[in-house]
């Protein structure tokens, strides 16, 4: 019994740790896409932030400066995205892809040139990272049956950025759903012409949305390299940005369902590690690749309308040109 509880607690904890960057990146994508700017660049923005954070932490030894650097780089990449796709009405998908490829190449070159460790940044000491935070009295309460391990490992024991990620979910829900900025943001993704007619600048709103995207991607990338990991590795996002995009679509571009999708995808990841080589009753050994591909298959099925229906913001992907109205 207690073993089952321990497994459950450790899997829940693993799910939360994997989900944290997905949640941040999915929220990042939500701000941008609800404002009508397609964001396949979450991957690149996270990767840029992960490198900037790790490099800063390695040089200064300060996790907080690293977080600032990570956010700074991700916001800068977001502004490039905006400059191309808002100011110059370029193709948003092409612009996003460009940022992904630039980030992939540039982080690898700079990591190798500046630190000379084959594309990695130096392994960070404890002081330069966001460390797990013990829940109060966790050790004393650990022996309490059922609730003890859950309290110590699932609720407590994560690093600060995990809590930040989940705390930002209600904040994002409030900002998008309940504030004037959020209303305008959603309107600009549905019908930018109407927003313009109401005398509100479309471009400014979209830039603001992209700034929020950068902020959130910055935290997500920082989490990967100096909170979850202890340094930068080449291509360390490894598709997490696209997974977050899938979660956002799976959540139908809404905050709480997107959170649910992130938790689901993260859980399949935790499950996959657990299930490696284990034969299940009825099905036998499930190939890990099948579980890895599951989020993508589910997203395709959802988009195709075979399981529910995901309707994108109506103006998604269309540059807004005043003179074309």
């Amino acid at each position: 019994m207690s073993e089952a509880i321990d497994i459950l607690a450790s899997m829940s904890a693993a799910t939360l740790r994997v989900a944290a960057p997905l949640v941040l990146a999915a929220l990042a994508g939500l701000f941008s896409e609800r404002a009508g700017v397609v964001n396949i660049a979450l991957e690149g923005k996270m990767l840029g932030a992960a490198f900037a954070a790790a490099a800063t932490a390695a040089v200064t030894g300060s996790a907080w400066l690293a977080l600032g650097a990570g956010i700074g780089v991700a916001v800068a990449l977001s502004m490039v995205h905006g400059f191309a796709s808002i100011t110059h009405a370029g193709n948003q998908m092409v612009s996003g892809m460009a940022i992904n490829v630039v980030a992939l190449g540039l982080t690898a070159v700079l990591a190798n040139a500046w630190f000379r460790q084959g594309g990695r940044t130096p392994l960070l000491g404890q002081g330069a990272r966001f460390r797990p935070i013990e829940a109060p009295f966790a050790d004393a309460l650990r022996d309490v049956p059922v609730l003890g391990p859950i309290y110590a490992d699932v609720i407590g024991g994560h690093n600060l950025l995990v809590y930040v990620a989940f705390a930002l979910v209600p904040v994002a829900a409030f900002v998008v759903g309940r504030t004037r900025f959020g209303l305008r943001l959603r309107a600009v993704g549905q019908n930018p012409g109407a927003v313009d007619t109401a005398g509100i600048g479309v471009d400014g709103l979209r830039y603001a949305a992209l700034a929020a995207t950068g902020l959130l991607c910055g935290i997500a990338g920082t989490y990967l390299s100096i909170a979850h990991g202890a340094g930068f590795q080449q291509d360390m996002t490894a598709g997490k940005g696209f997974l977050a995009l899938a979660a956002l679509i799976f959540g139908k571009w809404r905050v709480w369902p997107a959170l649910f999708a992130c938790l689901l995808f993260a859980f399949t990841d935790a499950l996959q590690i657990r299930l490696q080589g284990v034969a299940l009753p009825w099905v036998g050994v499930v190939p890990i690749q099948a579980i890895q591909a599951l989020p993508y298959v589910l997203t395709v099925l959802l988009l195709a309308g075979f399981v529910g229906r995901a309707v994108a913001p109506r103006a998604l992907g269309q540059p807004y040109l005043k003179e074309k109205r």
Partner: protein, 368 residues
Amino acid sequence: MSAGRLPRVVDWVLLPAANLCAAFLVSGLVVLAVGENPLRALALLVEGAVGYPEAIGYTLYYATNFVFTGLAVAVAFHAGLFNIGGEGQAYVGGLAAALVCLGLDFLPGPAIVPLAILAAAAGGAAWAAIPGWLQARRGSHVVITTIMFNFIAAAAITWLLVNVLIKPGQQSPETRHFAEQAWIPSAQAVLGALGVPMPRSPLNLSFLLAIAAAVAVWAFLWRTRWGYALRATGHSEAAALYAGIDTGRVVIVAMLVSGALAGLVAANEVLGVQHRLLLNFVGGAGFVGIAVALMGRNHPVGICLAALLFGALYQGGAELAFEMPDLTRDMVVAIQGLVILFCGALERLFRRPAERLFAARRAPAGEP
């Protein structure tokens, strides 16, 4: 939209050149940031790419891949679609070609090689057709589905290679080598038979296939009814629909052609060089195709030139990394991203000032 307002030479030569220069200028700044001399790096790169016969072989070999993926992206672009799935489509094409080579290796060369090439094209086409069909009939966006399909293809082929196709008694997940008659002959062998000496390089006859594909794509897009329907749909879906074109079918056909072209990467890599299926043999060529298509302005001639440039970058970049260890081959990836940014997303950066300039010159003084 603005082709009529600018002189052709500006539209087709000067503006693309300006965009490309901007991309290379920023790349030069990166080289400076790393602490190397950009001009010396450029010289080393050019020397490494075309300085000796073996290097030229490598440059053309890389270019072969990029012609295929560049054409793949361009055909989709002409239909108004952005196919990011070249990577996965080439991977599935490789799988199909490998299955033919492994299963039918009792056939003689003249039968099995064309069959394997067709299989590569068919595999790529099939993997692209599903996202195409989903967009045309179910309304899901082709960009998102092709991204997802890249991951699904990678997972499925990894599983197949690790569990099913792996050569028995071997650690690394690769198939056995194909029988020799299934190989596409190398340029060295062919030219050697003709009495022309050529050093060893991965260049093989797929290069000619790539040129043939470029001609075929040109004929398809600008000389056939299908190509017209495709371009019309890409230009204005509503107008095409009004003209009686089945735009849904056009989307599917465009993705089929696009995927088939991407699948042909396998002809070069799997049939021509590796002679076996191995993990991640596509190695990013699908993404290079995006940069190549944008830089070549989606025209086969431009794509061939851009593919040559990227082939030279990949080969020269490898040589450069020897001489300047701080500039790893990832620098080429960064350049590729900057080309996508400046030639694709920021395509209008210099266009607007140019248009204003020419409009001002054309308008007689005194008139508003």
